[in-house]
Symmetry: C2
Subunit: 437 residues, 2 copies
C-alpha cells in the first residue's frame, strides 16, 4: 500500500500526516468523540476519531480492517502501555467490514480461553500479539539453523512426505490410499538424509514427520517438523556434537537478535550458553543426578523427565555456566537400528541427546556406515533386511563415517518459550482429535 | 575430518602433504603403478598409487570410500578436463568398502540410462556430478526466494500437510486413514497462507502439495513443493506482481552467483532479466501471438504451450530484453473460487501467470477479501459454503486487500535447467507408479 507507515515507525513521523492501516483492535465511544485502537503486525496505536468518524464505524465490529489518514501527534494519555504518539484521524476508510462479533476476545492482555477453543478459532486467536509472537520466534530459530548450515557448505534438501514403506518400522504410521495400494507418511527423514549425505557430504533441511500416536498428550503431535542435519567424513561423534552445538548457538543468537519485542512480550529470558556445552555419558549423568539430588536412577536405561530438568536447569548452569548438556552413550536397546554401537562397549551406542530448557530437545549420533554391520544390526533388532532394500543400498555402495541429528521444531519452540502444551507452539496442530483448521 | 582438504582447494596446496577423502570414482591399474580418480562433493582428483597401494585396493569396487594422504604435485597428463594437480599417495585407507559392482555407471560424462533406472537407483545415480548439480541449483533458487522475502519483512510459515477436507474441492486428493476417519493430504497451502497473512500481513514458505493425478506425464508429480507468498494491504495486483518480479530476480541472481560450476557443468545459460517484465492481458497476449506467428488462438480461454514458449523465448526477449512476461486477466472459468473478479469485467479475474523459460512457472493473483463476496463466489462455482467453514472464518473476521502466488519448485528447476522430465528435477519423485526410494 503506497505511503503506508507501520505503527512501530510512527514516533519518527511526529507532526506529519500519514497513512496507517490495520485491524480495529478496540473502539471506545465517548459520544462527542472516540478512540479506535488500530493494530498492525508491528504494534498498536490510538486513533482519535471525530463524532462523524465514529458514526461511520457504527455497526462494524472489532477486526474490521481500516485505512486511516491522519496527523501523528503526541499522546495525551498516561497509559504506560500505550504508544507515545497517537493519530488525529482526518479520514477513515473501511477496507474490509466485520459485522459479526469475534468468537474469542483477542484485545485483552491474554487470550483467556481453553486450548481447544484457542485452536478451533486459530484464524482469529493467532492475531493476538502473544500468539503471533510465538511463530516469529519459531521462524527465527529456523533461520539461525539454516544460516549456520549454509556457512558450513551444507546443502538443503527437500525431503519427501509420501513413502512406500514405514521408514523406522513399528506400527505408528499413517496409511494413504495411493491408487488402490498402500503408501505411508514418512515417520522420519533418516533414509533421505543419509542417501543425500552420501552425495553432498553435509545436508540439512526442515523435514515433516508423521506419527500415528495413540494418545493426545501435551508433548505429542501427529505431524511435526524436524531441523535435520547429517554430515559425513567425521572423525568421531564429537564432530557431530560440535556442529550441533554451533547450530544451537546460531539459532539462539538469531532469536536474541531479531526477536527482542517478542521475547519481552512473552516474558522469556534465554538460558545462558556458556563457553561449551558439557558432554557426559548417560551413566555419569545418572551418577551426577544421584549425587546432586539423592535420587538414585543409576539403574535406569534413560534419563527421567525430572533428571533432564535438573541437569539442564540446575547442574549445567551451576557447574558449566550453560543451560545445555549433551548426554551420550545411550544403551543399544533404546536406540534405532541405524545408530552405531560403541566399539568399546557394544551394549552402548555412539548416540547423544541434547538436553536444554529442562528436557530433551535433540536426538543424534553416529550411524552405521558399513553394509555387513548394518544388516547384522537390523537382524539383531528383530527386523528384516529385505524390508530395508533402499536403505541398505547406500551402505552397499559406500557412505563415509557419518552422523547427524534431528531437532523437533515445535518441541523446541515450546521449550524456548516455556509453553505448557506443544500445540501452542504449533501453528496448525494435528493430534488424535484435531485436523482443522 | 581433521585436516581434510576439499578437492577444489588442492591447487593452493601445491607441494604440501594433505589429506583428501571421497569416493573411488575410477581405477586404472597399469600393473607397475596405477591411478585412482577420487571424487568428493567439490570435484575429482587423480591419485597416483604405488604397486602396493594398488594391491591394497584389489577386490574393492568403485564407490569405495577412501582417505588418502599424499603430496600435491603438478599433473603430468594433458587431459583438458583434469585438475591441474594430482596427488602422489603416501597412504590409502579404506573408510567404507564396496564389494559389489554399482548397478549404474556414474563415472562417465552422462548417466546413460532410462529415467526409471536412474530413479530406481537414486542412491547411486545422484552421486553423478550432473545429477548432484541439479539440486544445488534447486537449493539456490529457494535461498534467493527466502532472502528476498525476509528482506521485505515477511514471516516464514510451516504449512501443515494433513487436512480434514480437500482444500480446493475436486476429486484429485489423497485419503489418509486417520484413526478410522478420513484425512486428506493438502492440495494447496492457500487456506493457511491467507489465514497467516491475516496475522503477519506478508507470509511465505515452501509448501508441500499433493495431487492424485490420474496419469504420469513429464510435467506432473503427485507430491511437489511450492514457493508461496501472500501479501496484504496491497493497492492492486501490480503490487503483487512487483513482489513476485523482485523475488524472481533475487532467485536467479542467487543461482548466477552461487552456482557457477553447476551451470557450466549442465551447459545452462540463464535468460535475460531485462529492466522490467512486461505485463499483458491474456487477450492482448493472444493478439500479439497471432500478429507474430500467424497462429490465431484469440478465441481460446488460455495460452497454449506453443504460445507460452513463443512469448517468453521470442517475443519478450526481442521486444523487452527479458525472458519473462506476466500474462494477466484470465477468464473466471479458468481460475479457482478464491481469485478476485475484475470489477471492470466480471467474466475476467485479477489473476496472472508468470511465463518464463518457455512455459508457465507461477500462478497468482488478487484474492477475494470480503465475506459476502466470497460466499457468493463459492456458490457460483457450484461449491458449498458450509464445506469451507474455516476458510470463510477469515473473511468473516477481516482480512485486508491481498494477493499472492505459488511457484512450483520442481517445475521451475526443470525449466531453469531445461530438463525433459520434471522427475529429473525432483530429488525423490512420486508419481502414479513411483513411491521409492
Amino acid at each position: 500500500m503506497q505511503h503506508r507507515i507501520l505503527i512501530r515507525d510512527l514516533p519518527a513521523k511526529l507532526g506529519e500526516t500519514v497513512i496507517v492501516a490495520g485491524w480495529l483492535h478496540r473502539l471506545r465511544d465517548l459520544s462527542k468523540f472516540g478512540f479506535a485502537i488500530l493494530r498492525d503486525r508491528t504494534g498498536l496505536v490510538q486513533v482519535v476519531l471525530s463524532t462523524e468518524q465514529l458514526e461511520s464505524l457504527k455497526g462494524f465490529q472489532v477486526e474490521t480492517v481500516l485505512k486511516v489518514t491522519g496527523e501523528v501527534v503526541k499522546k495525551q494519555s498516561k497509559d504506560p502501555n500505550a504508544n507515545e504518539v497517537e493519530i488525529q484521524a482526518m479520514s477513515v476508510e473501511i477496507l474490509s467490514p466485520v459485522k459479526d462479533v469475534v468468537p474469542v476476545e483477542i484485545n485483552k492482555e491474554e487470550v483467556d480461553v481453553q486450548l481447544d477453543t484457542l485452536l478451533d478459532n486459530r484464524v482469529v486467536t493467532l492475531r493476538h500479539p502473544k500468539q503471533r509472537a510465538i511463530f516469529r520466534v519459531q521462524a527465527a530459530l529456523v533461520h539461525g539453523f539454516r544460516s549456520f548450515m549454509e556457512s558450513q557448505g551444507f546443502t538443503e534438501i527437500f525431503f519427501p512426505v509420501l513413502a512406500g514403506a514405514a521408514s523406522e518400522g513399528g506400527a505408528e504410521f499413517f496409511r494413504v490410499d495411493y491408487y488402490g495400494r498402500e503408501a505411508t507418511l514418512t515417520q522420519s527423514a533418516q533414509l533421505y538424509k543419509q542417501i543425500t549425505m552420501g552425495v553432498y557430504e553435509g545436508v540439512y533441511g526442515v523435514s515433516y514427520s508423521f506419527r500415528a500416536e495413540k494418545f493426545a498428550t501435551s508433548r505429542h503431535l501427529t505431524e511435526f517438523n524436524q531441523l535435520e542435519f547429517e554430515v559425513g567424513f567425521v572423525d568421531d561423534m564429537e564432530d557431530v556434537m560440535a556442529y550441533g552445538e554451533s547450530a544451537t548457538r546460531a539459532m539462539l543468537a538469531e532469536v536474541a537478535m531479531s526477536c527482542v519485542p517478542e521475547l519481552e512480550l512473552l516474558g522469556v529470558t534465554l538460558p545462558p550458553l556458556g563457553d561449551r556445552f558439557p558432554r557426559v555419558k548417560l551413566k555419569e549423568a545418572l551418577e551426577i543426578y544421584k549425587a546432586g539430588t539423592g535420587i538414585d536412577e543409576t539403574q535406569e536405561p534413560d534419563l527421567s523427565p525430572a533428571a533432564e530438568k535438573w541437569l539442564s536447569t540446575q547442574w549445567a548452569p551451576k557447574e558449566h555456566g550453560t543451560g545445555f548438556v549433551f548426554v551420550t552413550h545411550y544403551p543399544e536397546s533404546k536406540r534405532p537400528f541405524y545408530v552405531a554401537l560403541d566399539p568399546e562397549d557394544p551394549t552402548s551406542t555412539l548416540s547423544f541427546d541434547l538436553i536444554g530448557f529442562g528436557s530433551e530437545i535433540v536426538s543424534g549420533g553416529m550411524r552405521i556406515n558399513r553394509y555387513d554391520e548394518q544388516i547384522a544390526r537390523i537382524k539383531a533388532k528383530g527386523l528384516k533386511p529385505e524390508e530395508f532394500e533402499d536403505y541398505l543400498m547406500m551402505h552397499k555402495y559406500g557412505i563415509p563415517p557419518e552422523g547427524g541429528w534431528g531437532m523437533g521444531l515445535q518441541r523446541l519452540t515450546q521449550n524456548v518459550l516455556g509453553l505448557a502444551n506443544i500445540k501452542e507452539a504449533t501453528i496448525f496442530p494435528r493430534d488424535v482429535q484435531r485436523l482443522r483448521p
